[in-house]
C-alpha cells in the first residue's frame, strides 16, 4: 500500500501535481524512474529553466509521463505529440518544449512526424520511452519488439525486424542523440540536461521495463528488478560497441551519447532569419 507521505518527496512536492498521486502506472513500471530522471535534470538546470518549459505527449502509457508535472502540459493524440509541439515551439520559441512519447507512439503511428521533426532540426527534446511492446492496450507487437518475441499479436513469434531509433534519427537529421536504460539514472539525467540545453532536435531514448507485458512476453521476467538487472548486464557503452562485431552486439543495448552537433542551425533560428530578410525588403 502506497502511503501518503511518499508524495512528500522533495521532487514531487516541488514539481508534481501531488493531488493526482498516486499515479496510474503498474507496480514496477519504468516510467516513475523516467519521471524522476526528468525532474532531477530540472533540479540541476534550475527554476528558471523549469518555468520556461512545457511538456507535450502522445497516447500510450508513456504519454501519461508528464501529466503529473506542474507545468503546461498537452496530452495530445496517438502519434501527434510532435506536430503539436512544433506549432507550440514556433508560436513560443523561448519555451523548452519536451515531448514524451512511447516507441509505438513515436516510431509507428507518429513515425512520419518523427523523421520530419528531425529533418527540420527544430528545437524540441524528444524523450522516447522504449519498452518494446504496446502496453496500454495489453502487450501487442511494437516496431521495437525483438524478432521472434511472443506478444498478443505475434502468438507464433514476431517475424518483423525492429527499428533502431538512434540509427533512424541519425539518418533523418537529429543533432543530439543519447540512449540509456532505466538502470542508468544518473547518465540519463545528464543526457536529458544536455538535450534540454541543446538548440536543435534532440532525442533521448530510455529503454524501460514494462513488467506487466514486455517482461512477461518478451523477456520471460515479471520482476522489475530482474528486468533492470538484464538491462545492466546487456548494456554496452557506445565506445566499447565500436570495437565489436555485429554478431557480438546481437541482443545488446548500446548506451551512451551517440551524436552532438550544436553547430547545425535550429529551425526557429532559420525562420527568424527568413522573417528578417523578408521584412527588410
Amino acid at each position: 500500500m502506497i502511503q501518503e507521505e511518499n508524495f512528500e518527496h522533495i521532487l514531487a512536492k516541488k514539481y508534481m501535481r501531488t493531488e493526482l498521486l498516486p499515479h496510474a502506472f503498474c507496480s514496477g513500471c519504468g516510467i516513475g524512474i523516467i519521471e524522476r530522471m526528468i525532474l532531477m535534470a530540472f533540479e540541476e538546470l534550475g527554476e528558471e529553466e523549469w518555468k520556461r518549459t512545457a511538456f507535450v505527449s502522445g497516447i500510450g502509457c508513456s504519454g501519461w509521463t508528464p501529466l503529473y508535472f506542474r507545468s503546461d502540459v498537452a496530452h495530445t493524440l496517438h502519434g501527434r505529440a510532435l506536430p503539436f509541439a512544433i506549432g507550440l515551439k514556433l508560436a513560443k520559441p523561448e519555451l523548452n518544449v519536451i515531448v514524451v512519447m512511447g516507441d509505438g507512439d513515436s516510431m509507428a503511428i507518429g513515425g512520419n512526424h518523427l523523421i520530419h521533426a528531425a529533418r527540420r532540426n527544430i528545437g524540441l527534446t524528444a524523450i522516447i520511452v522504449t519498452n518494446m511492446v504496446y502496453s496500454l492496450t495489453g502487450g501487442q507487437m511494437a516496431p521495437t519488439t525483438p524478432e521472434g518475441a511472443i506478444t498478443q499479436t505475434t502468438p507464433y513469434g514476431n517475424i518483423e525486424p525492429n527499428f533502431d531509433l538512434i540509427e533512424l534519427m541519425k539518418a533523418a537529421g537529429a543533432t543530439y542523440l543519447a540512449r540509456w536504460t532505466t538502470y542508468h539514472v544518473i547518465q540519463a539525467k545528464n543526457s536529458i540536461k544536455k538535450a534540454v540545453k541543446h538548440k536543435g532536435f534532440s532525442v533521448v531514448e530510455i529503454i524501460s521495463q514494462c513488467p506487466t507485458f514486455m517482461g512477461r512476453y518478451v523477456l520471460n521476467k515479471s520482476d522489475p528488478r530482474d528486468i533492470m538487472q538484464w538491462f545492466k548486464e546487456n548494456s554496452i557503452p557506445v565506445s566499447v560497441a565500436a570495437t565489436k562485431s555485429p554478431e557480438e552486439l546481437k541482443g545488446k543495448i548500446i548506451v551512451g551519447e551517440f551524436l552532438h552537433k550544436p553547430e547545425v542551425m535550429e529551425y526557429t533560428e532559420r525562420l527568424k532569419l527568413l522573417k528578417e530578410r523578408v521584412g527588410r525588403r
Binding site: 502540459v73 495530445t76 493524440l77 506536430p83 503539436f84 506549432g87 514556433l90 523561448e94 519555451l95
Partner: protein, 380 residues
Amino acid sequence: MPGELRLMTGYDALVEGAITAGCRFFAGYPITPSTEIAERMSNRLPKVGGIFIQMEDELASIIAIIGASWGGLKAMTATSGPGFSLMQEGLGFAVITETPIVLVDVMRGGPSTGLVTLPSQGDVMQARWGSHGDYAIIALAPWSSQEMFDLAIKAFNLAEIYRNPVIILSDEVVAHIREPIKIPPPGEIEIVERRKPSVPPTEFIPYLPEPGEWVSPMPAFGEGYNLLVESVMHDEFGHRIGMGQPIAERKIKRIYYKIEKNVEKIAMYEERGLEDADVAIVTYGSSARTSLKAMKDARNLGIKVGMLRLITLWPFYDKLIEELSSKVKSIVVPEMNMGKIVREVERASKGHCKVFSVPKVGGVLHNPDEILSAVKLAAR
C-alpha cells in the same frame, strides 16, 4: 488600399481576410484545389510577422495549428477532400480541448481522390459529423470573393468567442473565381481577440466557465497557468477521467450546447424575393450563384420564387426553415452533391411543405435550366 474595389481571387480574399482577423500561423500540406491558400500564406505571413510551415501531411497540419493556438496565436489550415478526411482526427482534438482554430475545406469531387480539380459540395455532412463522438461545429459557406474575405474574419471571431473549430466550406468555384471585392477600412472591421483570465493562475479553473458564459478565458502556454490540455475526457481542471459519467456528460453537453443553443447568434443567411414567394430555393455556396439565375428566369416566367441562401450551414438554423416552410408551397434545394442539406431542410420543415432535392454530381455546376425545371415542378 482599404475602401477601394480590388479584383481578387477567392483564395486571395480569404488569405487577406484571415490576416486582417489576426491570423499569424498557418500550417498546411499542398492539395488541389486549396494549394493556392498555402502558397499565398507562405508569401504573406512572414511579411506581417507571422509563421508559415509546410507540414509532412494533413494529420500534422491541423495538430500544428492547435499547438500554435495554445501558444497564443490565431491559426489556420486549408485543405481539400482527402486532406479533410485526415483532419477529422485533429478536429475532434480541437473540439474536446476547446481550441480556437479555422479550417478551410475547398471542396472537390469525391469519393477518395475523386475529381481533383472539379467543384463539389460533397463534404457538408462530413463537416458536421466527420469526427467521432458527440460535438457541435460551426461551418460557413461563402459564395463570392467578397465573402471569402468577410467570412474569414467572421470565422476567426466565432472560433475565439466559442473556443471551437470553425470550418470554412468553400469549393473549387468560389476559391478560384476572380471578382471585385471591397476591403473596409481597419476601424470598420470587428475583430474579436482572445479572452484572457482575469484571475491569477492559482484561482483559474480552465474548463469552468463563469456564470452566464459558455466557455472559459484561454491563457497560452508559458504564462504560468500550468495548463493541462487533455484529449482524454476531463473534468473542469483538465484532469483526465477514465470513468465518471456525470463529469463526462456535463462536458459533452456544454461543448454541444455552446454552439447549438447559440444558433440564432451564429446563423447568417441572405433572403431574396421571399416576400411573395410560393416557391423557395434554399441553397448555399456556389450553387446559390446558379440558383440566382434560375430564380430570375422563373420570375420572368411569372413564377413567384425566392431564395434563402444559407451562409452558416452548421449549426443548422431549424427555426428559420420551419418558418419558411409554413409560408411557401414548396422548397427546392439545389446542391452539388446527391442531396445532403436537403435532409436537414426536410427535417426542419416538419412536413409543412413539399421539399424537392436538385442534386448535381460529377464535378460541374448545375445548369440554371435544371434548377428552373425543378422550380416549375415545385410551383405546380
